[in-house]
Amino acid sequence: MVLASAVREYINRMLQDISGMKVLILDSHTVSIVSVVYSQSELLQKEVFLVELVDSISLSKEPMSHLKAVYFLRPISENIQYMKRQLASPRFGEYHLFFSNILNNTQLHILADSDEREVVQQVQEFYADFVAIDPFHFTLNATSNFMYMLPAVVDPPKLQHFCDRVVDGLAAIFLALKRRPVIRYSGTSDIAKRIAQEATKLMYQQESGLFDFRRTEISPLLLVIDRRDDPVTPLLNQWTYQAMVHELIGIQDNKVDLKNIGKVSKEQQEVVLSSEQDAFFKANMYENFGDIGMSIKRMVDEFQQVAKSNQNIQTIEDMAKFVDNYPEYRKMQGNVSKHVTLVTEMSKIVEERKLMLISQTEQELACNGGQGAAFEAVTNLLNNESVTDVDRLRLVMLYALRYEKDSPVQLMQLFNKLASRSPKYKPGLVQFLLKQAGVDKRTGDLYGNRDLLNIARNMARGLKGVENVYTQHQPLLFQIMESITKGRLRDVDYPFVGNHFQQARPQDVVIFIVGGTTYEESRSVAIQNATNSGIRFILGGSALVNSKRSFLKDLEEAQRVARSSTSVI
């Protein structure tokens, strides 16, 4: 809640002191930032009668001096260029400029220079530079996310661009929270180290005045880790509601696009899945698929009862009551159809791709099971005709990640089989993954088989049995959070930047995953926060990852770029 309310507060403050009809101008990033926390009807209440993007507003030349322009942009060079042109020939009566991050003096000069007509009334920095999708989860929607996988020599400016975006986002988070953190990072990851160091430089040296807040006893902790420490979670198929929708269909800024999925009615082609606005979703977003079915059935029954009573209109009084309740009825109807459509489409996909069968093997590969049985299961599934290419690839990857060092012969057999059957996937992608995220590259104990304590814990869990085979996996993040809660996060694995150190347990922890977070991980965070352990965790990532559309795509992109760069060099 704290993230979303911070962004809302910023937007409220932007609009409240400006009277009269306004036009709000955003760029492609800030439009996501604003849309997840503010609705169109709320904007209308604040007299904002037009919302446009900064690049399209320059197309029209029609002057509208009865409107006041409120700009909310990221302080990047393209936006400054647009502003320069628009200030030179202003269309609106007044200009109020808000930037989502720190403006440097050069940019300020350029703006001042182009404001010949002196239409600019204020220039402010309002640090809402992140997309607050869930109460404890944010993302940065970074472009070229795949750059994190590549060494710096491949494309230094692009990597610098990516790092800058991440550091800006982190700075904005802490400015919005008004705290200055102690920073730790994942020891084996160069990019995590780089980002941690650049963030420290920004917060403690370059802009130390800005970050000089009233110091509380215990500083919060910022932990920067690498997606490649846990490559298993994004590859797994998901069975809890929010994670499942993202995995099978795809959620972008809390919106689901159903246009390409199947035949859906016009109103349901694009829907909103937001825990703030949808009470049913809030109650069920972390429940597994079976329980969802039951809840939806209950919701449909309730709705049918209401609908039936609405049809039974006999007296004028009944009609009056119907009209009274009509808005509620309509809202309920929309909500019910939305969830029914989602679950229906997902069931279809599960059926087509035989996901229940595949997922069982996946979970075995991720959690327990012996190597021999795993090899057999994977081979069988590879031979199965109805398994799609992407699922085959995922299975082999999961096997490779786990049994990297055992029995290389069998691993090679699987590679060959994959190559022979899945022509779409370029060979070597699995090997590339191993090079990126193999056991030597990872921090932390992904499979719980390095540390004696973890082995014992796994054995105990195996003996106890699991409630649900499909949701037995727990992301590495869960262990990290546990270690932090117990104060046992090892310095060797997660060193501090510079000479920071932390005496006691922190009360606020922001965990940032370079490369992206998954909804399964945000679910772990939500569950952890609900246990009221005294520590509040916030999770963030440079993107929101699911297996096909993001993680595998990033891998492919990175592989392509790496290949082309080595061929050049």
């Binding site: 503010y38 809202k331 929309g334």
Partner: protein
Amino acid sequence: MATRNRTSQFSKYRDTLNGNRVPVTSSSAFGGPVIEMAPLFHRSNGSSYAPLSTEDPGPSSRDAFTVGLSPDWVDVSEEVASSIQRVRIKMAELVKAHAKALTPSFGDSREDQHMIEALTQEITVLLRRSEKSLQKLSARGPSEDSNIRKNVQRSLATDLQNLSVELRKKQSTYLRHLRKQKEGHDGLDLEMNLNESKHRVEDEEFTDQGFNEHQMGTLKKSELFAAEREREIRQVLQSVNEIAQIMKDLSVLVIDQGTIVDRIDYNVQNVASSVEEGFKELKKAERTQRKGGMVTCATVLVIMCFVMLVLLVLKEILF
């Protein structure tokens, strides 16, 4: 939540840079651009619909600046806004009138009824008129202007919708109280009747006629009372129906909260695509108009008429 104000630094830069620059034109004598003052309208709930920036806080060198007259649809929107304000005031009065009418008093009830009827009628008329004017705001063809108008329309429609809902709620509470009262009176009458009949049975001879008269009198009175209440209820229900109609019409304009239509990014995408399409449509329309199929048709017909007329005249002359 931290923020940082760069305005002072910005103004400093701007002033130094502007000082170095040769001024574009000499600053105007008025000390400000010529702005047409549209009537400023303030809503008592704090927000204002001031369409123009009538204040001029910055230094006055915007002379060559093209000043816009506020478009006339802004007047329509202001009108609707003022009607909404009036409706609010009237609703407050209506609440008072309702309360007064419900306090039991037999004689003056006619007056109270009239007042309530009049107020309800006024409010309904205002709402209906506002709704009709709201329709006028919609513009054809996608453009930036039409989007603004659509959004203004939506905002006003939401306000009207909320007012209608409020009115309905107040009416239904009033109705409920009325009904309770009516039953109460009927019950009372029944009791009275029972008592009377008991007495009647007891004292038949002497007091027969007297009681009959008395009884008839009370009966008539309670009948009248019941009929009156019946009429009131019917009237209130009728206005309820009217309001229902208004609400139905408005619901097309009002945004459903929580749906995709309420998302800013969805609306921005649609604007972008529709503005492009609008350009294309406009160009196409221009082309077809120039070809002017209609115009050629009309000219041909006129020529034909002329020819026929000439032939007719010729026919007359020759024969």
